[in-house]
């Protein structure tokens, strides 16, 4: 995870809460879009693909591409459809496997 983010918050301020991403504590704006807040915090690689292990990050921000999948407290979720709440334990989603169609 890089610390100098390529994204900028244009209206900083407001309440922050602590979450963990792969064990690293991050203070993110409460109620913010989780994918956006992680990008600002310098996270670019959200998950690795089940096929080749290639890194992926948010692509569509509208819940359609599933490239922002992370694991939150053991459940695979779309970060772009999740709000920042105090105490989230987030990790890169190896379990994107779990959402593969078994056909």
């Amino acid at each position: 995870m890089s610390t100098d983010s390529t994204f900028l918050e244009t209206e900083p301020g407001g309440a922050r809460v602590r979450v963990w991403f792969d064990g690293t504590p991050l203070d993110l704006p409460e109620g913010a879009n989780l994918a956006g807040a992680l990008l600002v915090a310098g996270v670019s690689r959200f998950r690795d693909t089940p096929v080749s292990g290639a890194p992926r990050g948010p692509f569509c921000m509208m819940g359609a591409c599933f490239d922002c999948l992370v694991e939150i407290d053991g459940v695979t979720r779309q970060a772009c459809m999740t709000e920042v709440r105090d105490g989230l334990h987030i990790s890169r989603a190896p379990s994107s496997e779990a959402w593969r169609d078994p056909e």
Binding site: T6, F7, L8, T49, V51, G57, M61, M62
Partner: protein, 469 residues
Amino acid sequence: MTRSDLVIIGAGPAGMAAARTAADQGLSVTLLDEQARPGGQIYRDVDHVPESRAARLGAEYTEGRRLTRALAQDRITHLAGAVVWAIEEGGVVSYTRHGAAAQVTGAHVLLATGALERPMPVPGWTLPGVMTAGAGQILLKQSGVAARRAVLVGAGPLLYLVAVQMVRAGSPPLALIETQTTADTARALRHAGGALRGWPYLRKGMSLLAELRRAGVPRHKGARDIVIEGAARAEAVRFKLAGKARRVACETVYLHHGVVPNTQAARSLGVPHRWDAAQHCFAPVVDRWGATERTTVHVAGDGAGIGGARAAEIGGRLAALDIAMRLGALSKGQRDALAQPLFRQLDAERAIRPFLDAAYPPNAAALLPEDDTIICRCEEVRAGDIRRYAALGCLGPNQAKAFGRAGMGPCQGRYCGLAVTALLAEATGQTPDETGYLRIRPPLKPVTLGELAAMHDEAKDPRLDNLDH
């Protein structure tokens, strides 16, 4: 299970306008949307943004409040954060909300699920740091987050709007790398008559371009052979201009080459779709009211064919009037009288489309990418894989899915479906209509066992019981 006269999926301009129109005619309406707040893609979070941000996003954006405020009507139940994953015969709509599955039944169902950005598969487009231009805009609208060193790549008016919004947010893009050519512009001018009727849009486009010029954002037109470089994330965009190699170092790449209807829901119901050659995409077969051959299912807005936010709003109203008539709340004469001015407005709205479609054609190289380029982001299937399946005798997308999993990942083909059809059609010499599209089955979105186990009826709303049939 909750029952409503009308269940609407999607709270964008089409769904919101339809909800209010139907409620005003006395129908009970349940409006479902997976986003936390109403607005759809264009009016994303419009009720929630601080005023400073709203000012930067422009009057066209805050205009959406007219629609979100109209949802405060007794007969409308808006369920935010409701992810719809199945729609069945008989109007049974299954969704997940607050971690539990639930169902609602509608005497009629309106699909207003909007558009998706047309994917632009170029080498490197799967790297972290590469996003859609719409995603960049959602970051600005919803979170006030701007990319620091970004380039915008592709074609279309949305690119200019996003670029200007970034300028106003104090983080101008490093460059616009545009794929349309002067020949495209010349071709588009043949539609100048219609474009003049769509004059407000042209004027808006020109003022956006002037704002970009003033901000000193360079524009490179007619870019070819676009490649995104990077190891673990995007680092630069390489391209050719009039045969000369160029490179722009950057940290974020926003891709855009138009939007296409999000047809998952209509497809899952077996609604027939037809290839639209002008817009290079499939659209459901609907009449001018948005009615499908399924007598209790309508489609409105960009999901029925790309027309933009205003056209989506009008389409939503027309569908609601037709549904109100079918459910006995309006006579045919009443429906037609109410609809007449709307059809006129719709014609005026659509006048600009032929011009835009011709001026900003989708990037040809991204419609039929080179063999090495990944087309299915979920399963990492490459264009060459699809061509190989075609050589082995595979004629349709469903067979291709069985051969190599394209479209089988969590996005269910949303970002590779059109590419698979295009590649197979090219290889077999069939039309896109003959080639067909992926069969879409529920669940449209993943649903977990835990969510299913927690399935319960949405809390009964007494207002709905009054109008129950």
